[in-house]
């Protein structure tokens, strides 16, 4: 299905074919290294007041070191739930999540999370203290070490002047920068980001995307990034996992490593954008037909 779709897009054709996971498995190509994060057939369910909702069904994917791995899908496809599963806030009903070969059991500081909400910073701590706090409690650092490390990352996100400010004095974009600095200062095995820029205005969001890419260029961290914006996925990610809605199932894994902010509006960018758009849009039509029956 993916291959035939891709045939209509000459620019992307070669890449999608060669990087398609099923093709890779079927062929003799063995990935060069062990994946950092392995999600195997994970089904996640949560209870509401009177329903048991299946958020994702049999989702599998592998993330390698220094990946900018995007979970993309319409709202209700369980992408945030999947991220919570990886973070350890939810236990999979089925399947396994392994980090470096060890199964994930509960939340931990080696998988730092950046949330969408601005209230993720502790209001009773200054910017610097917010970044230091997990270093001391979760990272086992001394105060002096933590201060150095924290200031290092506060500088990296450009908030040196605001190190002693409290979160309520900061703008939304600055708060998200602190959250990113806090997560990165822990130097986690993998950084989990749950639509971190969704609540920002368009101009700030674009700047934050640029800054994140710059930071990645500096530090080469691994990030698992949830978004519902195709554009954001193309800009940030090097590999995009497309999920179908309700319950989330894998529809495709695509490469977008050579697309960045500079390629917005370009032919290749538009082609892949439209391709993903069609993929997601097709589902919506099916859903309506199902309802009619």
């Amino acid at each position: 299905m993916i291959v035939t779709e891709a045939d209509r897009l000459p620019a992307m054709n070669m890449e999608i074919k060669s990087q398609d996971k099923t093709t890779a498995k079927a062929g003799s190509q063995i990935p060069p290294e062990r994946p950092l994060l392995q999600v195997k057939d994970v089904t996640l369910q949560y209870k509401t007041k009177d329903h048991l909702v299946t958020a994702t069904y049999c989702v599998s994917f592998d993330t390698y070191a220094a990946d900018r791995f995007i979970l993309l899908g319409p709202s209700g496809c369980g992408k945030s739930t999947l991220l919570k599963g990886v973070a350890g806030f939810m236990k999979p009903a089925n399947g396994q999540i392994e980090l470096n070969g060890k199964p994930v059991r509960g939340p931990g500081p080696e998988r730092m999370m950046v949330f969408q909400e601005f209230d993720q910073l502790l209001p009773w701590k200054t910017v610097k203290q917010n970044v230091m706090f997990p270093l001391i409690t979760g990272g086992g650092m001394s105060r002096a070490e933590a201060t150095d490390q924290a200031m290092d990352y506060v500088n990296k996100v450009g908030l040196t002047k605001f190190a002693d400010a409290y979160p309520h004095m900061l703008s939304g974009g600055m708060k998200q920068r602190v959250a990113i600095a806090r997560a990165m200062a822990m130097e986690p095995a993998i950084l989990l980001m749950d639509e971190p820029f969704a609540a920002l205005d368009a101009l700030t969001r674009r700047r934050m995307q640029e800054e994140l890419l710059q930071l990645w260029d500096d530090v080469r961290f691994t990030v698992l990034f949830v978004t519902h914006s195709i554009e954001e996925a193309l800009i940030i990610g090097n590999r995009i996992l497309v999920l179908s809605p309700h319950p989330g199932q894998v529809k495709a894994e695509l490469n977008s490593g050579d697309l960045g902010i500079g390629s917005i509006g370009g032919e290749q960018f538009q082609a892949l954008h439209n391709h993903i758009h069609e993929m997601l849009f097709a589902d919506r039509v099916e859903e309506i037909e199902d309802d009619d029956r």
Binding site: F89, R111, M113, D119, L122, P123, T137, G138, Y166, P167
Partner: protein, 302 residues
């Protein structure tokens, strides 16, 4: 005229189009010196910004009204003047009797308050960590919170005899329930994001409660502490009025009771004034400072 033109352009009357206006770009004008960008406030504006000044003014006006009315009534047995009350207050204060009485009241109060706070902390910790603890606290709070502490005094006297222990028992009852109720509602209103953050750091158990839940719920906890303080203070004075002879030094309630018996009405007012004064100091100095250095500084309350 413009409308008519657009009609013509469209060819279909009734479809209004906004007029086309020319585009322009321009540099902002250099700022005019005569407009204030930032000007220091006048002395009057600055003084009226100070909360203490505004509140003291209200107090002075109230004292003035009292003085005039008392002079008009002219019956020192029913309503002594503000001047006479202030004089009685100063006399009792400097002679040491009032201070000692107030101090013994505060001593008992603090003991009861601290025990109540400790028990409330234990109960709410149980309530947030286990479901049965939550049920336990919810049931007890709904049972005992409406029960006036002073109503337990006869029972306390029977159990613990005439003395400080009975007072402390009643005080703990006055403090415990409002504080537990507020603290619990504070804990339950901590946002899910903040909880997940704390657990993301790998915090668990007591550390999690101390480092995340308590600071995050501090606005509610402080409200609970304030309400509990007021309840305790009221209960104590009332209890002293009923059976003041708890110990040789009496207490403020006892001071008021005795002064009334001796028809030293100015002293009664001085005693009441002391009760009010201590309440004001605790509310506006101690709790205010506590809030300024915590929740207000953190932007959790305005």
């Amino acid at each position: 005229m413009t409308t008519a033109e657009t009609f013509d352009a469209q060819g279909t009357p009734g479809r209004r189009e906004p007029p086309r206006r020319p585009e322009f770009e321009r540099e902002p004008k250099p700022f005019d010196d005569r407009v204030d960008v930032a000007r220091p406030l006048t002395l009057w504006e600055r003084v009226s910004e100070i909360t203490l000044v505004r509140r003291l003014t209200i107090l002075v006006i109230l004292a003035g009204v009292w003085q005039l009315y008392a002079l008009w009534v002219n019956n020192s047995l029913m309503l002594p003047t503000f001047g006479a009350t202030a004089e009685a207050f100063w006399r009792e204060f400097t002679e040491g009797r009032l201070l000692a009485m107030a101090w013994s009241s505060i001593g008992v109060l603090l003991k009861g308050y601290l025990i109540g706070v400790a028990v409330a902390a234990i109960l709410t910790s149980l309530a947030v960590s286990t479901r049965i603890g939550n049920d336990f606290l919810a049931t007890l709070t709904s049972m005992f919170n409406p029960l006036p502490a002073i109503a337990l005094l006869p029972l306390a006297l029977l159990w613990f005899g005439l003395g400080e222990t009975s007072l402390i028992f009643v005080l703990v009852h006055a403090v415990l329930w409002p504080l537990a109720l507020n603290t619990l509602s504070g804990f339950t209103s901590v946002s899910e994001t903040m909880r997940m953050c704390g657990r993301n750091y790998g915090l668990r158990g007591l550390f999690y409660v101390m480092r995340i839940l308590i600071p995050a719920a501090l606005p509610s906890i402080l409200t609970g502490l304030k309400i509990a303080w007021a309840f305790a203070w009221r209960t104590l004075i009332a209890a002293e009025l009923v059976f003041g002879v708890s110990s040789s030094s009496g207490g403020l309630g006892w001071f008021i009771f005795v002064s009334k018996n001796e028809l030293l009405i100015a002293n009664v007012f001085a005693g009441l004034g002391t009760v009010i004064l201590i309440g004001l100091i605790v509310e506006n100095v101690i709790f205010r400072v506590l809030e300024d250095h915590t929740v207000r500084k953190w932007g959790m309350v305005r």
